[in-house]
């Protein structure tokens, strides 16, 4: 019999393996019917998970750790997106062409646009400033939605922006330049986002979760083998609504099948350093075994 699993997602390139697994019928093969429901980020997705309205949520790592710390009882079951060993990333710090900014030191007294404060983009913007010799507290962080970031920099309302694709490429194609790639420059193979489920659901349905992760991993394999294929571009275009040519230009990078527990440690460190986390926290406690299997 078929088990229904609702997944809260964000319609961005990062969920390509999930969409491929759906399209290719990998979930059906495991007896699972996946139904995705887009939300505006973890703020709506994670409460929905806690309320039992969805069974799996796609979220960035910082939100997952915060939710776990606040007792929402959730665990990572599979990786979603991880940065590479070296730049470029899907997220970059951009400024106007010809601007003098190179390092964090240059941004002291300046303004950097982030999508939301107290979250992953903000966290790594600060980490990058520190890592490149600046004082993160001497920088002003402005909240600007991603689509408006380039306008904000262009209109001198911010000096730089930590933006994501496709806005990075769009900006660079016009009058922006990349200053840095904070994710990778701070931490190689940064586990930026994961899929999580609630502890109680995992306990009651261990088989479903295992099947889900297996199917998802098949999707990862397929994507990694077909990174440049037209079929992949069409699948991504179908849910992001970006034209396939644009996606091709942005490029799809390989996906991981497991989360490296050690990679979570620096994230937790950064959070603690920047006041997002207090007290004891063991990153392993939020990793379900399915996330560890290679």
């Amino acid at each position: 019999q078929v088990t229904k699993v609702r997944v809260s997602t964000i319609p961005i390139i990062d969920i390509a393996p999930l969409q491929v697994a759906i399209a290719k019928g990998y979930f059906t093969a495991e007896g699972i019917e996946v139904d995705t429901t887009p939300t505006q980020g973890g703020a709506a997705g994670i409460p929905a998970l806690a309320a039992g309205q969805v069974q799996v949520v796609f979220s960035n790592v910082v939100s997952i750790i915060q939710a776990a710390k606040q007792g929402l009882g959730l665990q990572i079951i599979a990786p979603a997106s991880t940065t590479g060993d070296a730049p470029p990333d899907q997220a970059a710090l951009i400024a106007k062409k010809g601007s003098p900014f190179k390092t964090g030191k240059d941004f002291e007294g300046k303004r950097i646009a982030v999508n939301t404060r107290n979250n992953i983009i903000w966290l790594y913007a600060r980490a990058w400033v520190r890592a490149t010799g600046g004082n993160p507290d001497a920088v002003t962080y402005l909240e600007v939605p991603f689509p408006q970031m380039v306008d904000a920099v262009r209109g001198d309302r911010a000096d730089a922006a930590f933006a994501v694709e496709p806005f990075v490429s769009g900006g660079v194609a016009a009058d922006m330049q990349v200053v840095g790639y904070p994710y990778t420059q701070v931490q190689k193979r940064l586990p930026a986002a994961q899929y999580a489920a609630s502890k109680s659901y995992i306990e009651q349905n261990p088989k479903v979760i295992e099947g889900w992760v297996r199917a998802y991993q098949k999707g990862v394999d397929w994507v990694n083998l077909n990174l440049k294929s037209e079929e992949l571009l069409n699948i991504i275009s179908g849910y992001t609504r970006m034209p396939p040519q644009l996606i091709a230009k942005l490029g799809v990078t390989a996906y991981e099948k497991a989360v490296d527990p050690a990679a979570l440690v620096p994230v937790v460190d950064q959070m603690r350093r920047n006041g997002l986390l207090e007290g004891e926290f063991d990153p392993k406690s939020i990793l379900h075994r399915t996330a560890l299997k290679a």
Binding site: S8, P11, I12, T36, T37, P38, T39, Q40, A43, A44, P47, A48, A50, A51, Q53, V54, F146, P147, Q148, V150, D151, R154, P166, F167, G170, A174, D175, T240, R241, M242, P243, L246
Partner: protein
């Protein structure tokens, strides 16, 4: 004095909306020109591009589907919220106890913006239709409630005494005297609510879900397709405008007997 009592005949010759529509067109031309020459931003596409996007969206049926899905939800929320507003409004206006019991609750709930209570909403109603329909009804509820209370209270006691002197029962008095007499107020409240219903359905779709105008606007923005985003906004404006006209027309027909100027 002339301008005070009558307007100049040259103006009267043209339908008076002409100049307004002209102004609208001029503003769009200004938009087009600035988009082409001065404002270098992908978020400010030329009007011609937007109109093209409108045309494409309409031809391939996508916009129709997007709008249909929002309209359906909006209509449900509007109907539920208005009905609740009318019923509770009548109760509060006619029963002092109901008024005393509910007023503090109503006044405390009113200022809470919907995005502030997303988590409990999700907990109680999920993230699908139920939640969105509820938020729309919640928003529609207050204007209708307030107006219904005002309308029922404004029913002339003479009208009620007429019913009493002819031995008309309470329920019948409610349906054939109180309700029609407060209809002008109720409809005015519903007109405010209709605009709110549209706004709130779109905002709710922006927060969660994979359907409707709000989701479409968000997705197009994140897909760097601002022309398509503005296409939806243009249609949204047209939709709001025509919904208001439609309700006005209904009001005109139902309330032909109601003349404002009279005390």
């Amino acid at each position: 004095m002339a301008a005070w009592c009558t307007r100049p005949d040259s103006m009267r010759a043209l339908p008076h909306r002409f100049w307004g529509v002209l102004l609208l067109v001029l503003l769009l031309v200004l938009w087009q020109v600035t988009a082409l020459c001065c404002v270098a931003s992908t978020n400010w596409p030329p009007v011609t591009e937007i109109l093209k996007a409108v045309a494409t969206g309409l031809v391939n049926g996508e916009l129709a589907q997007v709008f249909g899905s929002t309209l359906w939800r909006m209509a449900a929320g509007f109907a539920i919220g208005s009905a609740a507003g009318v019923l509770l409004g009548i109760a509060m206006a006619t029963l002092p106890l109901a008024d005393a019991a509910l007023r503090p609750l109503v006044e405390l709930l009113r200022p809470i913006p919907m995005p502030a209570i997303v988590p409990p909403l999700i907990l109680l109603l999920g993230i699908d239709h139920a939640m969105k329909v509820f938020t729309v009804s919640f928003a529609c509820f207050f204007p209708v409630l307030v107006n219904t209370v005002a309308g029922v209270r404004a029913v002339d006691p003479t009208a009620l005494d007429v019913a009493r002197t002819f031995q008309v029962g309470r329920l019948r008095t409610l349906t054939s005297v109180v309700l029609p007499a407060s209809l002008p107020f109720i409809l005015a409240g519903m007109r405010t609510s209709l605009a709110l219903a549209l706004i709130v359905s779109v905002v709710a779709e922006m927060i969660a879900g994979s359907q409707g105008i709000g989701y479409y606007i968000m997705t197009m923005q994140y897909a760097m397709r601002p022309s398509d985003m503005y296409a939806a906004i243009f249609l949204l404006a047209a939709l709001g405008y025509s919904l208001n006209l439609a309700l006005l027309a209904i009001e005109h027909r139902v309330l032909h007997w109601w003349r404002r100027g009279e005390d």
